[in-house]
């Protein structure tokens, strides 16, 4: 009896092995892209429906469908819950045969999807999440982190503010993976530049009232109040800080992560003068303007693309370029990502760049300042370029990355 069972098991294993082995080697021209994002809450304008549109535009602009490729983009809502996100990812990979998941704002969800992707040997091109852990301790051979990260934000904005005299800090931190990573990375920069951190307060995600937290920040007498949060949390903090006279009282706000949709929501009256780091702005050059216009015309609320949307577009474009060069889709995640790293990137939105062995996409970053209402010529004309951080300075240097993939 036992022998029969083990024979059966062995047979099944052999058949399964043959099937999976065969599928890994078959090349076809079918691609399925899953745009997994927050579709209805505080990050929906940052990623959300815009990310799906950006992925679709990348598919159209790649020209592959005209060459007979069958490429489909599907959408999912992770509701900012890591368990929901990883369940959708599992279902997409196992049942719906999704090849690549893109976007995924919210670092907590992104880290969960990162694990599932590695386990299933698929591909994760992250644009929306910020945690630098994705290319450090949690790095995998299946993930590319495209647009920005907490190291990049901390050095861009934090470094610039400390150098300009803001040497004492108090943090308002969103109480999850992203906030913790951003506070940690910014604290390191502040200390390295000779500043000190006087304290901080952790607030729940998606809080509408910040007055209590702002009063604590005010009482700390820190020169800079660092906002280690994003989306609606950041806009509410900034708006209510103005109401409580915090900026007028001599303290400065550092929006460590701010998107153009946030500036639009705040209005220039409140947002003017804020300094922050981004890696994309629609009004940078002719190519970004042309993309911005095409994108905005197709969005229901006519919004301009955020850097997250731009990252989804550029990431999908590069992925499809690699597939075309390979002559088909092998559906072998790690192999395709290795090819993506081997091929230099070049797209209309971020220019020329590379993907490092730890999965970190490298391109320049920009320090922007929000214009005064009198300087803005029309809708979505919001940013002044303060300085450009060159690609080799914008992200974690490879020798400082703690990614296990680098220890070979």
């Amino acid at each position: 009896m036992n022998k029969r069972i083990s024979a059966l098991l062995l047979g099944t294993a052999l058949v399964l092995g043959a099937v999976t082995g065969a599928s890994a080697q078959t090349m076809d021209k079918n691609v399925k892209i899953g745009s997994l994002s927050d579709q209805s809450s505080l990050y929906a304008d940052v990623g959300g429906p815009g990310s799906t549109l950006a992925a679709q535009m990348a598919v159209e602009d790649s020209g592959l469908t005209k060459k007979g490729w069958n490429i489909e983009v599907i959408t999912g809502d992770h509701q900012n819950k890591p368990d929901v996100g990883s369940n959708i990812a599992r279902q997409w990979y196992d049942v719906d045969k999704v090849d690549v998941i893109v976007d995924v704002p919210n670092s907590g969800v992104a880290l969960a999807v990162n694990n599932v992707t590695k386990e299933k040997n698929k591909i994760f091109i992250n644009s929306g999440a910020a945690t630098s852990d994705l290319t450090n301790a949690q790095c995998t051979p299946n993930t590319v982190h495209w647009t920005y990260d907490t190291y990049n934000l901390a050095h861009g904005t934090g470094g610039a503010l400390v150098k300009a005299g803001g040497d004492s800090w108090f943090f308002l931190t969103a109480d999850y993976a992203f906030g913790a990573a951003l506070e940690r990375d910014t604290t390191a920069v502040v200390k390295a530049e000779g500043g000190k951190v006087l304290g901080g307060v952790k607030h729940p995600l998606n809080t509408s009232d910040f007055s209590s937290f702002l009063l604590q920040a005010q009482a700390s007498k820190a020169k800079i109040i660092g906002l280690a949060n994003a989306g609606g949390d950041t806009t509410n903090s900034i708006k209510q800080a103005a109401e409580f006279g915090i900026v007028a009282g001599g303290q400065k706000l550092a929006a460590l992560l701010l998107f153009i949709s946030d500036v639009n929501a705040l209005g220039l009256n409140v947002a003017q003068g804020l300094n922050f780091t981004e890696t994309f702005y629609w009004d940078l050059n002719d190519q970004t303007r042309s993309f911005g216009k095409r994108f905005s015309e197709r969005m229901k609320n006519k919004q301009m693309p955020t850097m997250v949307h731009a990252g989804v577009y550029a990431g999908v474009l590069h992925y499809l370029k690699v597939l075309e060069k390979e002559g088909g889709n092998s559906h072998d995640g790690a192999k395709i990502v290795a090819a993506m790293k081997a091929m230099p990137t070049d797209d209309p939105l971020f220019g020329k760049g590379t993907i490092e062995p730890n999965g970190r996409k490298i391109h320049p970053a920009y320090l922007f300042e929000v214009k005064k209402p009198s300087e803005s010529k029309g809708p979505w004309d919001y940013y002044k370029l303060v300085s450009t951080i060159p690609a080799d300075k914008a992200f974690t240097p490879l020798d400082k990355s703690t990614c296990p993939l680098l220890k070979k």
């Binding site: 307060v201 998606n206 209590s212 009063l215 604590q216 103005a242 929501a265 609320n301």
Partner: protein
């Protein structure tokens, strides 16, 4: 000391701020109490509307948050497309959204009279999802700006904290509205008819009173209160499609703690919970989103009808 509103708008100049003494713990505590009271006034206004609707119509109005959001959007539209300022919006938005509420009651809710609570809950929940979805589709999720009216810009330095004048106005205004509503329902003849109509509609109708019309107007009043809270909140929060969805669960907890349908209960609990939440934000901020529900559990364990509710 009053500090006049200066330029840029919304950011008052505050000369004495930097010279102020570092606040001690007691001062910080007072500040939290005051901030809690301000938030409590929103809870009170919203839960008051819910209590009125539940008390008179027996409907658990899950669309209340969406109608609150519509109030804020209404103020935004009036200002942006009609040039109509905040003060007019305080009157017009509740009337417009209240009118929409009356339409809802006439076309849908009235058919639920006499049915189980669950039907009303499901219908209004569905309505809330549809209304929020439509707004989100056209205006995105991050919201639209609405400035504080010029007259209420600036702030007052109370010594222990800097109080924005607008927030002070919110507390006083909502207190007045709450007390007026309570008076209307508990102390006037109209209120007496209303209360009688909910107890025994057939008998009240026999006296020649048009009960269905009274119920429709009551729903309109409850919805108007929600819209009024929306206008009040527009300058403090972003005008966002989900602003009501984020708040409604807390407000329901307030109504349950206060005792379903109890007018005074919801007013007092609204203010009290705002204060308790403010204190939690000071002592243990991570729990500030859950403290209300912990309290709800405790209250229901001890007194299942809520603090001021009557057993039916």
């Amino acid at each position: 000391m009053k500090v006049p509103g200066g330029s840029p708008p919304g950011i008052p100049s505050l000369p004495c701020q930097t010279e102020r003494e570092r606040p001690n713990t007691m001062q910080a505590l007072y500040a939290q109490l005051l901030v809690g009271l301000i938030n409590g006034s929103f809870y009170a206004l919203l839960s008051l509307g819910l209590a009125v609707i539940f008390g008179m119509l027996n409907i658990i109005n899950f669309a209340h948050g969406a109608l609150y959001m519509m109030g804020a959007f209404c103020a935004y539209f009036l200002l942006t497309y009609g040039g109509i300022n905040y003060w007019w919006a305080l009157i017009l938005a509740p009337v417009i959204v209240g009118g929409f509420g009356i339409l809802l009651e006439r076309t849908m809710l009235q058919w639920l009279t006499g049915l189980d609570h669950l039907y009303g809950l499901l219908l209004t929940f569905g309505l809330a999802l549809i209304i929020q979805g439509v707004f989100q589709n056209y205006f995105g999720s991050s919201g639209l700006p609405y400035a504080i009216p010029d007259l209420l810009k600036g702030g007052v330095n109370l010594g222990f904290m800097y109080l924005p004048i607008y927030r002070g106005w919110v507390v006083i205004f909502s207190l007045v509205v709450c007390i007026a509503t309570w008076y209307l329902i508990e102390k006037t003849r109209l209120g007496a008819y209303l209360r009688a109509a909910t107890e025994n509609p057939t008998l009240v109708r026999a006296f020649g009173i048009n009960v269905p019309r009274m119920i429709t107007l009551t729903y309109g009043l409850g919805v108007g209160l929600a819209a009024l809270a929306g206008v009040l909140s527009a300058p403090i929060n972003q005008v966002r499609p989900l602003m009501g969805a984020d708040l409604i669960i807390v407000v329901f907890a307030v109504v349950v703690i206060g005792g379903m349908g109890s007018i005074m209960g919801s007013i007092i609990t609204g203010f009290a919970l705002g204060v308790i939440e403010g204190l939690t934000k000071y002592f243990y901020p991570e729990a500030s989103n859950t403290v209300v529900f912990v309290l709800m559990v405790l209250v229901l364990l001890v007194k299942p009808t809520g603090l001021t509710g009557r057993a039916s």
